[in-house]
Symmetry: D3
Subunit: 209 residues, 6 copies
C-alpha cells in the first residue's frame, strides 16, 4: 500500500547537492550575481521568508514632500529573489508628491487603494501620459520612463506599486542631479538649467560643488 | 536658440516604420505570438490604454465559494502587454475560498488590503507553506506551484495579487479535473480518487463522463 | 609558420580570472542562485560532466503505480546547468501510471521509445488534450499545466521526457495534497473533496492531520 | 450548487480578444517574429498540434554518410512554438557519421536509444570533449559549439537529440563552406585549406566558384 | 558521390512554412510585437539588410548643443531586429554636449574614436561615475541610468555607442520635461524647479503651458 | 527644508545586505554562475570598473594572419558583467584575415573605423552574405553563424565589433579542428577533409595525432 517508486524518486531529488529550485530565497551573506542573490539552503527556508509585513503601517509623511515610500524589494524581502516581482507602499499626505523618477530595471503597476492620485509618465517621444486615478484604478509605467505621482485630493492617498523585477531600482531625478558632488557647471552644461537654480537645489538636498 | 540636431534626430526616430518601443499596447485584432499581442500603432495609443478601472468595484461573492476574482491581464488591460506584469482583484466574503490553483506562467505576490486571509502554497518537495495574512501583509507564491486563499476572519477580505507576467494563466485544480469530459475512470487512475468522489464533483461543476 | 596573434589572444582569454563561458558545469559545493548552480573551475571539467549514464537501466516498477521515473536534471547531471535543457527516463509496466503532475519551471516533450502510452494535459480553459502515443511519437506538454501518462497496452512502455530547463521541477498532485501535514479540513475547503476521501489518501501516502 | 463566480471569471478570460496563452501553436500563414511564429486561434487548436508522429520511422541511410536526421522543430511541429524545446531523430547505419556542425540557437541533449555512438564537441579553448556513448547514455552539447556524432559499432545506431529551443538552427560545417558559391580563393584565405581540397569538396557537395 | 540524406533534410527545413530563424530581418509593413518587428520573408532578405552605411558621415553639429546623434536601431537598420544589439554615431564639436538622458531598454557601451569626451552616469544611490575618455577608451552605462557626454577637448570628438538591444529607446531629460505641454505648475511640483526656470526652457525647446 | 522621507527610504535601500543592482561589476575571486560573475561589493566599485583602456593601442599584426584581436569581454572588463554587451578591437594589416569563426553566445555588430574590410557570414541554409565594408559601415553577424573578416584594401584596417553578451565566446574553426589532439582519422571522418590536409594544418597550428 505504499509508493516505493516515489520514495526512490524523491530520494534522488533530495540528495545532498539538490536544490528545490521552486524558489531561491535570498541568502544575504553569500555572493550575489547578475540574476540576484544566492539561494538560502532549502532546510533553512520557512514560510516567513515568503511573507513581508513591513507594508502594513503608513510611512511617515511629515516631511517636505509629504510622502513616504517603503520598498519590499529583494534586498528587504528575501522570498521574491529570482521570482520576477516585487512591491512597495506609497503614502501621499494631502499635497504630497513623489517627484519625477525612473525604475531602471522594471515596469511599474500602480494600484490606488485610498484617495486620489494624479500620475503621469513621459514617453521617449516626449508625449506625456497623464491621468487622475481613483480608488481601485491601476496604471502601468513602462520600464525606465520618467514618471511621478501627486496626491490629487484633500485626503491622504495610499497606493501600492508592484514591479516586474525583484530589484527594480529607483533613480529620483532631483537626487541624481543635485544630491551629490557633481560640479554645478557640469550640471548646467548637461541640463541647460541655470547655475543659480542648481545651487539652490543642491542646497536643499545636501549636494556640494 | 533652437536645437536643430534634435529635430533631425527625432525625425529619424519617427520615420514611417518607427515604433516607439517604450511599450507595446496590445492590438487585439492583429496576430499574437509567444511574446504577447501585436503592438497598437503609436498614433492610436492614449493614456487610457495604460489605465484600467475594472478593479475598483467588488466582485459578486454571492456564490458557492463566496469569492470573486477579476483579472487585469493583457487580455483585458492592453497597456501591460509585453511589460512583464499584471494584476487582479480578489474578494472573499466571510467563509470565502479560492480553491487550489496554479499560474503556469507567473509568480504571484498577494497584497491583503482588507480583512484576514489564510494563504498557502505547496513546494515540489510537498512541504506546505501556510500563513495567516493581515491587512498590509504580502505573500509570494513561486511560479507554477499549487496555492490557495481562504478568508480567515468573520469579515469580508480584499486582496490584490500581482503577477510577474502580463499573461500569468490560471489553472483551477477542480475545474481542470472535473469541469470537462475526461472519463471518470481515467481521472481515478491518474488521481487515486474514488470514482464516486469524481462523479460527485463532476455533477457539481458540470463535467461529463 | 606560426600564429603569434592567436597566442596573444588566447593568453588574454585564459588569464587567471577568465571563465570559458561556453558552459557552466555545476559546482554543487558553491552557492547556487536564481540562474542555477555556480560553475566548476574550467580546469576541473572533464567529458564525464557532460555525459550521464543513469538512464540506461530501467527503474523498478514493482510498486503500486507500476511506474518509475529517473531524473537527469541539473541536480543529478552537472553538465546541463545553465544550458536550458534536461531529460528523464520513464518506465511504465503494464497498468502503470504517472499520476497528474506539473513541472512549474519547464515545458516537457515526451518521446515514446517502447510500447503505448495514453498521455494528456488540461489547458487553463479546462479543455483536455488526450492522445494514445505509439513508439516514435512525441507529445509536448506546455509549461506548468497538469498532465499525466498511463501505459496504454499490455506490454512495458519506455519513454524519455525532455524539459526546457535544467531544473524543471516536479509537483505531483496527490503528493502535494496528501503527503504532508495539511489539515484535512483545509484540504476539503480548498479542493471540495470529501474528508473521508482525503483521509483515505493521506493514509495511503503517509500524510498526517 | 453551482459556482457563479467562476462562470463570470471564465467569461472574462474567454472574451473575444482573449488568448489562452498556455501555449502558442504556430500559425504558419501569419507573420513570424523574433520570438517565433504567430499563434493559431485557440478555437482551431487540437491535440494533434501537440503530437508529432514523423519520428517513428527510420530515416533513409543509404547515402554517402550512411546517416539520416529528421527534425521536429517549430517549422515542422507547430505545438512546440514558443515553448523552448524541440526534438529530432538521428539514424546512423554502421559507418554512419553526422559531420561537424553547430546549432546557433540551442544546446543539444543527445539520447542514445540503440547501438553505440562516438560523440564529441570542441570548446572555445579548443579542448575536445569526446565519449563513446552506449544505449541509454545522454550527452549535452553546449549552445553554438562544433560537435559531431559517429556510429561507434557494427550495428545501426538510433538517437534522439532534444534542443533548448523550438528553432535550434543547424549549420553543417562542410555545407557552409563548400555547398555554395563562395570563391575558392576566399575560402582558402579564411580557412587555410588548400585550393585543391576546397575544389574537391565543392565538387562532391555541389558548390561552385 | 552525393549526400541524399542532406537533400532530404534540407528539403524538410525549406518547406513552405519554414523560417530560417538564424535571423529575423525587420518587415516594417507587418505588425510588430513585444519582441520586435515581424520577420521579412527569407527569400526577400539580402546582404544589404545586414549592412548599414548611414553612420559613415558626420552628423551636422552646427546647432546649439554642437552635437549630433545618428541611430542605427531596429527602426532604421532591419538586420539587427531580434538580435539584441544596435549602434549609433555621436559627433561632438568643440563645446558640444549630449545632455542628460537614459535608454530605458538597454545598457550602452561608448567607444571613443576621435578626440576627448567627458562622460558620466549617476547610480541609483546618487553616486556619480565620471571619467575623461581618450581615443580608444570605452565606458559602459548600465541600463536605464541617467548619463551624459561632453566634448572634453578643443577638437571634434567622434564616438560610437553600442546598445544591448535593437531598440534601446532614448529619453532626453530636457525634452521629457520641457518639450511638451505638461503644465509648468505640475513640473515645478514634481521637479522642485522654479517656475521661471521651467518657462525659460519650455521657451527654448518649444514646450507649451 | 530637508527630505526626511528620502533619508528613511535610502536608509532601507542601503541596509547591510542591500545591493545597488543597477550593475554587477565582476568580482573575479567569487564563484561565477550561468548569468555571469558574482558582483563586487558596491563599496569597492569605482568609475574605473566601467572604463576600459586596453583597446586604444593597435594589436601586433606582424604574424602569419597579419591580424590582431583584443577582447573587452566580462573576463577582461568587469563593468560589463551582467549588462548584455561587450566590445573588441580588430586590427587587420594589408593582407590580414580573421579566419572563419563563430561566437556561440552572441550576435556581433562590426563597425569599420579605418580602411576597407570584406566581411561575410553563412546562414543555416548555406547562403553566404558577403559585403565590402568601408569606413563608417556596420554589419551584423547573427548569433552562432560562421563568419570572417578580410582586409579588402592596401592599407591597415581597424574595426570594433560589439557583441550582444558580456561573454560572447569565440570558436575559431581552424583552431577547433586542428589545434588539439583530435585524431586525424576522426577529423577526416567528420569533415571529409583529406588526411594530408589535416596533418598539414595540425603541423602549422601545433595540433597532434
Amino acid at each position: 500500500m505504499i509508493f516505493p517508486i516515489f520514495f526512490t524518486f524523491v530520494l534522488l531529488l533530495s540528495s545532498s547537492h539538490a536544490s528545490v529550485q521552486d524558489f531561491c530565497v535570498a541568502d544575504y551573506k553569500a555572493p550575489d550575481g547578475p540574476a540576484g542573490y544566492s539561494c538560502k539552503k532549502p532546510a533553512k527556508v520557512t514560510v516567513n521568508d515568503f511573507v513581508y509585513s513591513g507594508l502594513g503601517i503608513a510611512g511617515n509623511t511629515t516631511n517636505i514632500i509629504k510622502a513616504a515610500v517603503i520598498p519590499a524589494f529583494a534586498a528587504q524581502f528575501p522570498g521574491v529573489n529570482g521570482l520576477g516581482i516585487s512591491l512597495a507602499r506609497l503614502d501621499l499626505a494631502p499635497g504630497g508628491v513623489i517627484p519625477f523618477h525612473t525604475h531602471p530595471g522594471a515596469s511599474e503597476l500602480l494600484l490606488v487603494v485610498e484617495g486620489t492620485i494624479i500620475a503621469g509618465f513621459v514617453a521617449s517621444d516626449n508625449t506625456p501620459y497623464l491621468k487622475t486615478l481613483k480608488k481601485g484604478d491601476i496604471m502601468v509605467f513602462p520600464q525606465g520612463l520618467l514618471h511621478f505621482q501627486v496626491n490629487g485630493g484633500g485626503t491622504p492617498a495610499l497606493a501600492f506599486p508592484s514591479f516586474s523585477s525583484p530589484s527594480p531600482g529607483l533613480q529620483i531625478l532631483d537626487f541624481a542631479l543635485f544630491k551629490n558632488d557633481l560640479a554645478t557647471e557640469l550640471i548646467a552644461q548637461t541640463t541647460f538649467l541655470d547655475a543659480a537654480q542648481i545651487k539652490k537645489l543642491k542646497g536643499v538636498l545636501g549636494g556640494t560643488n
